[in-house]
Amino acid sequence: MAAGHEERFRRLYAEEAAARLSRLGLAVMDLEAQQRTGRPATAGVVDAMFRDAHSLKGGAAMVGLPEVAQAAHALEDMLEALRGDLAAVSPEATDALLEALDGLRALIDDAVDSAPAPAAEERDPPGHEPPAGTAGDPPVPLGGDQDVVRLPRARLDALTRLASASASASLRVRQALDHHGGDELLLGEFRQLTLVLEELREQTLRARLVPVASLAPPLARAAHDAARRVGKQMRWEEHGTDAQVDRSVLERLADPLLHLVRNAVDHGLETPEERVAGGKDPAGVVRLAARRRGSEVVVAVSDDGRGIDLDGVRAQAQARGRDTSGLTDAEVGGLVFSSGLSTAGSITELSGRGVGLDIVVAALRPLRGRVEVWSEPGRGTEFRVAVPLTLAVLPCLVVHAGGQSQAIPVHAVEAALPPAPPEGVDPAACREVTDVEGRPLRVSSLGETLGLVRDPAREDPLLPGAPRPAVVVVTDGTRRHGFWVERLSGQRDVALTGLSPLLPRLAAVTGTALQPDGTLLFVLEPAGLLDRAGA
């Protein structure tokens, strides 16, 4: 095997091994749960584990990793022993299995990390797309239950962009046909083409989606390890995790969810003694659940533990100078997302340092996600994280300002107010208006804030026939500011294209999109926009 190919196959082996090791980890925890509840271990579970271990061994030998093959062989031996005597499943045996899995994972990581970097032609640099008609690296078929191909993300991004551009182009052709006229045959064919292109766009977007369940194994393992470290018993459950979400969203959800899972074990669950005294099963439940809600996916991490100590949170907030007297219990629960506050009364090795939950909020911000908490004393706590299904399509309020179309993500739009400057006042010169709730609101021109040409609205908006500007209220959760815009064009799902990696980072613009009429739409970054407006 040529050196370059060997490295490629090793990387492929490592990817496949990661999936097998995750599956094995979950199976060990299954065995542990069966053992704890006094049920005999299931032969089928051990058999499936043995098959995974055997495949790991065979694959390692094939890609020239003898140490990995040897470690997998040792794992096989351990499983073989359990196969012969299912009653031998014990906490010590499952711990040994988990240790063996960790050892294998480390060996594989080392083998792949120490390999030379892939050759230049094997990488897809950011923004680079292979020329049309060249295949580049052929997709590599992998064995398994389904026919699966792996492909570089940059190529999938390019497909998404081209599919969206094709759908937009078809709309432009439609406009041209409307203008120049066309016979029935041509129009019929065109309608077919439009349907096909829309379907292509839909399918391409769908190709980016992966089930939430793919994140479950490391979370379950983290919960298991956390429980073991603090002497608690834990049962892991999953519900609805076949709900799908964009892979790039899911990857960035991993860290926040890890915080929440550890938090659930460390702060949520009681010790086995406390649980028994409270009439509960000694093993607490930590559950990962997911469900689709419109264009969002809600992922919940819940436990059936003691619930958040609201009095404790209230006391911590007051000690930090926060007036909590008028807050409801739900609002006090929401304070756990503030920096420095903790759901626990004491500091432990795992959490409770007052960091964690504010980090969850910070990690969700670039994902345009949000988190809510529900808690009931003695019954448990649930954190619900809502994120958009995909970052490739973004629901936006489209406005016209500075001579261009600008898209403001709807999650950052608090309101769009009709034009209401006092009679005879130049709206763009007006720096404060009253919002619908009667509160004063600072406003500035969006075109000027973006440093674009002066708003045409400012030239003389009160002339008959001149566009009457409207105010869009933008918020990032803590700040709010109004922006004069020339025109509101309505809400639209925008197929977002990131800015070229050649450009310096721009504070207020995150991406662009091609509009059906061929012009460009700019997607604005709410926080950067508020910064520029001095909000």
Binding site: P501, L502, F522
Partner: protein, 149 residues
Amino acid sequence: MRALLLPVDGALLAVPLLATREVVTAPTVTPLATAPAFVLGLFTVRGEIIPLFDAAQLLGLGGWTPARYAAVLDCPGGAAGLALTAAPSILQVDPEQLAPSPLAGASGTVPVTGPGRVEDLVATLLDLDALFGPGDLRLEPATAAGAGP
């Protein structure tokens, strides 16, 4: 090596012909809000959105280049457009003729002997890896002064 000779606001720049994807006439440029002055805006080529750079400002030559043409270049960090004031032409470059260039992001200068040019002109050969390479963006206007001819 064959190079594309690019007229940019009174200066002559050159890029390897192999790195040139195409030349667009009178591109429709949309200004990019909050971008530095050396970014003239964005334009589209068959659905691809490409940034258009003003090489004169990028190299510290001053001025502002009206985009009568745009050369679309395949650079290590992605596609880049360079605004041109006149139509480009093709030039044969002998690497042994290269002289050091005072400009940041340039490989050197080369006498222009291509068709329609007189021999007392020189072109600055751009180093696209240095100007538009991947990684941390280095796109800061250079402070070097003094163009080729």
